[in-house]
Amino acid sequence: MFYRGIPLTPHNPTNRAPAAALAVLTSSESKRLLAKAVAAMPEVKQALKSGWIIIGRGITNAFVAEELTGIKIEQKLRYAAGIIDRGALATAPRDIQMRPYVLHKGQSVELLPEKALEEFGQDDVFIKGANALDMAGNAGVLVAGPQGGTIGTALTTLAARGSHLIMPIGLEKLVPSVNDVSSHLGIRRYKYSIGTATGMVPVSIGQVVTEIQAVNILSGATACHAGSGGIGGSEGSVVLVIEGDDAAVEEAWAIIKSIKGEPAVAGVG
């Protein structure tokens, strides 16, 4: 489901707000926007103060980790496990991989996520990106591990304990249906694959944060996803219409301006 019930399309599509703006965000600019929004969420702030936060692996989460810890991750690839790079499913080289951040009362601790999960209660927060998102708010995570990767092992614990699962996912990753496609994937199923053979873990209990929820969290304005695409390094860009009262649109625009120019995420090279 989407964060606090903010859907992907506005409830009243014809009710135009007084002010509007048109923004294009590249894939990395979107990731920065999502990360800023995740850091601004009340449940994340609360857990930073008095609980546990696990920032799972992933490129989007490298941005989230930067926003939450203040530490700059120059080579964001180091925070990822699975990636899509050079036109193929791949894995970040193991020798450069960073440890995922586990924060206790806002401080980074030397504990593995699986260990930290044992401490989790209802107010603790697990943050995890995804590779797919559908209109119903179901997220899909591609996994190469036969036990379902990080998300596969964490999911049942989070569900059992009612902890927060926050999923920052760019609209670039929209697919028609996560649930319908998941059962067709499986790591031992393919005759051929372009890169790593992966299965997909569908996640329906996450609170999904796309650019739409992010704009609303950060500024109070609403956003609609109007188009996507791009060439010349802008591939995967999204076009957003931002609406609201004048003050909200101005606030959103100040944020948009501050994230424009975010460098693209480099691959293995």
Binding site: T9, P13, T14, A20, A21, L22, A23, V24, T26, S27, I59, L77, I83, I84, D85, R86, G87, A88, L89, N131, A132, M135, G140, L142, G170, E172, L174, V175, P176, S177, D180, V181, S183, H184, L185, R189, K191, Y192, I194, G195, M200, C224, H225, A226, G227, S228, G229, G230, I231, G232, S234, E235, G236, S237, V239, V249, I256, A264, A266, G267
Partner: protein, 269 residues
């Protein structure tokens, strides 16, 4: 609607097919796949033989023009009008930058403006136009920087005459709803914009060809859109699961192998 009723998601009850493969396509590889499929459509073949084909502007259509005419178009941005390129939504308009769009009569390029050609159009003639947005119902949307534009003027003529409107569009461009977002957009509405102002023209009458329809048209195999994303130049990539009988999957894989490595569409300079 989708080409010949091939939906984005095959019927769920159909179960798993005999053979499967997992493919990743970058945006330019997807454009090549879709272009090959458009060239293989029976209505396109027939119009090439005995009717009119107009290949409207756009980078996807630059690939379509290559597949249909055999000519090579470089840089492909010269075939476009509006583009999303570093930083902005914009249009290449400096003198000599745009190449003439193709109008084909009986398969031969003719020196006739698209608007004039449309006067000759009957039910068997074909207008091909890419899009900037597509939703899971098969509504396509075109971002328009002017009040008329090519497709803006052509759409009513095509509807009135029942001509074919073929819309090649990559799943990279999936949005939640074309019809919900369109009323929010208008040329003179925005207080701020990261580039050109644009409105969204919905094209409910088009026959949409995404990677899913393309795989089916070219091989008979089914394809599912499983995930999207990417880094290091693979931004906007799509992950496709391909299923079918062994022969269908083999045929699909041969085509996929043939298009892997298609160079990205560059912004000149």
């Amino acid at each position: 609607m989708f080409y010949q009723g091939i939906p984005l998601l095959p019927a769920r009850a159909s179960g798993r097919a005999q053979a499967a493969a997992l493919a990743v396509l970058t945006p330019s590889e997807s454009k090549r796949l879709i272009a090959k499929a458009v060239a293989a459509l029976p209505e396109v073949k027939r119009a090439l033989q005995s009717g009119w084909v107009i290949i409207g502007r756009g980078t996807t259509n630059a690939f379509v023009a290559e597949e249909i005419t055999g000519a090579r178009i470089e840089p492909k941005v010269r075939y476009a009008a509006g583009t999303i390129h570093p930083d902005v939504v914009g249009a290449p308009r400096s003198p000599g930058q745009q190449v003439r769009q193709y109008v084909l009569h009986h398969g031969q390029p003719v020196e006739l403006a698209a608007e004039k050609t449309l006067e000759e159009f009957g039910p068997d003639d074909v207008y091909i136009k890419g899009a900037n947005a597509v939703d899971s119902l098969g509504n396509a949307g075109v971002l328009m920087g002017s009040t008329r534009g090519g497709i803006g003027g052509a759409a009513p003529t095509l509807a009135a005459r029942g001509s074919h409107l073929i819309v090649p569009v990559g799943l990279e461009k999936l949005v939640p709803s074309v019809t919900d977002v369109a009323p929010h957009m208008a040329l003179h509405r925005y207080k701020h914009s990261t580039g050109m102002n644009a409105w969204l023209l919905p094209m409910q009458l088009g026959q949409v060809v995404t990677e899913v329809q393309a795989v089916k048209v070219l091989t008979g195999a089914a394809a599912f859109h499983a995930a999207s994303g990417g880094i290091g130049g693979s931004e906007g990539s799509v992950v496709l699961l391909i299923e079918g009988d062994d022969a269908g999957v083999e045929k699909a894989w041969a085509i996929i192998q043939g298009i892997k490595g298609e160079p990205p569409v560059a912004w000149p300079g």
